[in-house]
């Protein structure tokens, strides 16, 4: 036996408390987005089974919208692959940035690879907000409980709602569409524990739309990689030296 009975029970109970996270505001907002997605899939000529399958194997909402967009436009397979993969490069730093908080010395790599499939913006924010409050050896169970359940529930939502909600009244559809970005603005700002993250937040907000007008094909890459690097360098070489300069006089005063 790898685990003693008490360890098994507490991992399971952390998994269950992670599951309870699907009743939180972010999870509920994401579910309304998936109701909208099922209507979008129907309108784009994607079948019910295909829409559910896509939810399970792709998961990230922006990637699915792009995949459907290229499929509906009759693009060749290679073009679909390129468009989706370019839009998903952000997955790499997203997953990498939560790994140091998630793993422990004994975490098997195959388990981390499996769990990484369930990372999308909502579960990434959840990890940033909650992992630090969980004992390190229970974090994988906790995150898995939330993220896997969230994916499965949304797959069910797509399967059930497909065809039921073909068309919302325009105002409801508009409000539903805005829920997700508004939620991300507030929750990512509120969960930022480092100044460099707040700086990168502002740079991304400004550079995303700006780059979309200047260089629409690689806008997200420029805004993310370029803007994120700018934010990092500014924090490291301008903000941090200033903070140290401000902090040092008080250190002097403390001296006898």
């Amino acid at each position: 036996m790898l685990f003693s009975p008490s360890d098994v029970r507490s991992s399971l109970s952390w998994f269950l408390s992670g599951m309870r996270g699907i009743l939180s505001l972010p999870a509920l907002i994401l579910m309304t987005s998936f109701v909208g997605f099922s209507a979008f899939a129907l309108e784009s000529g994607i079948g019910r089974g295909e829409a559910v399958f896509m939810t399970l194997v792709v998961w990230a909402l922006p990637a699915k919208m792009i995949l459907i967009g290229t499929m509906a436009g009759g693009a060749p397979l290679a073009a679909s692959f390129l468009a989706v993969t370019l839009s998903s490069i952000r997955m790499m730093p997203m997953v990498a940035s939560i790994m140091p908080d998630m793993k422990n010395d004994k975490s098997p790599t195959w388990l981390l690879l499996f769990l990484s499939h369930f990372v999308a913006i909502t579960s990434w924010v959840f990890a940033i907000q909650h992992l630090n409050d969980v004992p390190r050896d229970k974090r994988i169970a906790y995150f898995g409980g939330f993220a896997i359940t969230l994916t499965l529930i949304n797959a069910v939502i797509v399967g059930v709602c497909y065809g039921i909600v073909a068309q919302f009244p325009p105002i409801v559809a508009g409000a539903l569409f805005m829920l997700t970005p508004i939620y991300f603005f507030a929750s990512i700002w509120a969960s930022a524990r480092h100044d460099v993250v707040k700086l990168a937040f502002v740079v991304g907000v400004v550079m995303g739309p700006a780059m979309a007008m200047i260089e629409p094909e690689f806008d997200i890459l420029y805004a993310g990689l370029g803007g994120g690097t700018l934010a990092y360098l500014f924090d490291r070489y301008v903000l941090r030296p200033r903070r140290r300069a401000k902090a040092s006089p008080s250190v002097m005063e403390d001296m006898p």
Partner: protein, 111 residues
């Protein structure tokens, strides 16, 4: 060939699943080598945040569907005022969401 029922599923597997999970797996491999609070992790955090916010911000500036016909100033004002109230009242997420959505719906009804 492309008329077969499984063709769409094959497209989803290759252009959807592999195209996204490739990056997630790379993220695990890279992230496994990052130490807590190393400089490299600070940079990765900055890049991840800027990427996510660029995607999010674009949704507000260039929405699809019914919101595409709404004026940009209304969307920006709804989000901006909601975010300001959120900052001034102790950063509770529900405040930002509630104020912004209420303003957006009010604006859409008046216009």
């Amino acid at each position: 060939m492309s008329d077969a029922w499984w063709w769409t599923y094959l497209v989803i597997i290759i252009a959807g699943w592999l195209a996204t999970d490739l990056w997630r797996w790379l993220g695990v491999i890279v992230g496994n080598r990052l130490d807590d609070d190393s400089e490299a992790l600070q940079w990765v955090r900055a890049v991840a945040t800027a990427l996510v916010m660029a995607v999010t911000s674009k949704l507000v500036f260039f929405p699809t569907g019914t919101l595409a016909e709404s004026p940009l100033w209304l969307r920006l004002a709804a989000l901006g005022i909601g975010f300001l109230v959120f900052l001034l009242t102790g950063q509770r997420v529900i405040v930002c969401v509630g104020v912004s959505i209420a303003l957006l719906i009010a604006g859409l009804m008046v216009l």
